[in-house]
């Protein structure tokens, strides 16, 4: 648990693939529709991107400071000690607040289970991290989709971690009753 959140790597295959695809697509647009159209696409997207830069920067800084001020051990302890519906709500808030990549999130969720939280809590946490995390919303989603789309997407996603947590709890109970075994999900 001592290791810090995954550093952002300077090179990534995904980016290289998208860059290559974009160059091919851009060339096709240029040859097919001419330079005016190619330039229009470039500038319209660049405008949205530039407008989102301050929020992206804020997202990066918030993530860096939260990582230092809110240690993962504390999150694990707070959520691990909760249970019931409150446990799911606390897990949801923590999942939305805790920054970092999968290397951070999955071990924290695993720690909840070890500390005695039930499977619903861990599932609500991972779901909230995926869907409500400000990190991904500010840095990635905003420059791609713009504020209105992202805001509605998040509003719609608000109940989903709770639904996932309750479903997981019910499913775990069902599995235990049907096939036996204990309620341990660690």
């Amino acid at each position: 648990m001592a290791e810090r959140r995954r550093r952002v790597r300077t090179f990534e295959w995904s980016t290289a693939v998208i860059a290559l695809t974009s160059i091919v697509a851009g060339t096709i647009v240029y040859l097919r529709d001419g330079s005016d159209k190619a330039l229009a696409i470039l500038t319209s997207d660049l405008w949205l991107f530039t407008g989102m830069l301050p929020k992206m920067a804020a997202g990066c800084l918030i993530a860096a400071f939260v990582t230092r001020l809110l240690p993962r051990e504390v999150v694990a302890r707070v959520v691990g000690g909760e249970s019931g519906f409150v446990g799911i709500l606390v897990a949801m808030v923590m999942g939305a607040v805790l920054p970092g990549g999968p290397l951070t999130i999955y071990p924290v969720a695993g720690a909840f289970l070890l500390l005695g939280a039930d499977i619903g809590t861990a599932v609500a946490f991972i779901t909230a991290w995926n869907l409500l995390g400000y990190n991904r919303a500010l840095i990635w989603e905003l420059p791609f989709f713009g504020p209105e789309f992202v805001a509605w997407r998040i509003v719609i996603a608000l109940p989903l971690p709770i639904i996932a947590g309750l479903l997981a709890r019910a499913a775990a109970r069902l599995v235990a009753r049907r096939w036996g075994g204990d309620d341990q999900w660690t």
């Binding site: 952002v8 990534e12 995904s14 980016t15 998208i18 860059a19 695809t21 974009s22 697509a25 096709i28 647009v29 159209k37 190619a38 696409i41 470039l42 319209s44 997207d45 660049l46 991107f49 830069l53 929020k55 804020a58 990066c60 800084l61 918030i62 993530a63 860096a64 400071f65 990582t67 230092r68 001020l69 999968p102 999955y106 969720a109 695993g110 289970l113 499977i119 861990a122 599932v123 779901t127 869907l131 991904r136 500010l138 840095i139 990635w140 989603e141 420059p143 791609f144 989709f145 209105e148 509605w152 997407r153 719609i156 996603a157 639904i163 996932a164 479903l167 997981a168 775990a172 999900w185």
Partner: protein, 170 residues
């Protein structure tokens, strides 16, 4: 100024107030903590700019060359629940990191896909991209926890898509 602009400015201000508060809290604890945080946040930002930029610009060009008829037919605004399910399946099948998921989603939206369908796509991509389940999650958590989580997540993108369709936003 329309409502969205106002909300956007308010959120931007709140975010930077939060940055200020966190930075101050860190600085009070120790100067090193503040320096580390500011450095790492700044560094991540600088590293991410070109990556996001490539994706954002790329999505515009990819949208322009995608077969618009095909997209509108399968996942267009009129494709309904079936389109939402198709989009969710595409999200599960998309490999790669954040830049791929968001560039494809944004390209689809610009290329004629419906907003509920794109929401289903990004939600599915976030929750259960098959590649991520096998590359990350299965190694870091007990396999049955991973399967249970994936199983209960299956309906979520479809619920999100239907909710977007019902409220008619975004």
């Amino acid at each position: 100024m329309d409502l969205i602009t106002v909300v956007s400015i308010v959120i931007g201000t709140l975010l930077w107030l939060l940055v200020g508060t966190l930075a101050l809290t860190a600085a009070i604890r120790s100067k090193a903590l503040f320096r580390e945080g500011a450095y790492e946040g700044g560094r991540d930002f600088v590293v991410l700019i070109p990556r996001v930029l490539i994706g954002v610009i790329g999505s515009g060009y990819i949208a322009a060359v995608m077969p618009q008829d095909l997209i509108t037919t399968w996942i267009g605004p009129g494709s309904g629940v079936l389109g939402i399910v198709i989009a969710a399946l595409c999200g599960a099948a998309t490999p790669g990191g954040a830049v791929v998921g968001f560039a494809v989603g944004a390209a689809a939206l610009k290329g004629g896909a419906g907003a509920p369908q794109v929401i289903a796509y990004t939600t599915a991509w976030s929750l259960y991209t098959i590649q991520r389940l096998f590359n990350w999650e299965i190694h870091m958590m007990a396999p049955r926890v991973v399967w249970l989580r994936a199983a209960v997540s299956i309906p979520l993108p479809i619920l999100a898509g239907i909710a977007a369709m019902l409220i008619g936003k975004p």
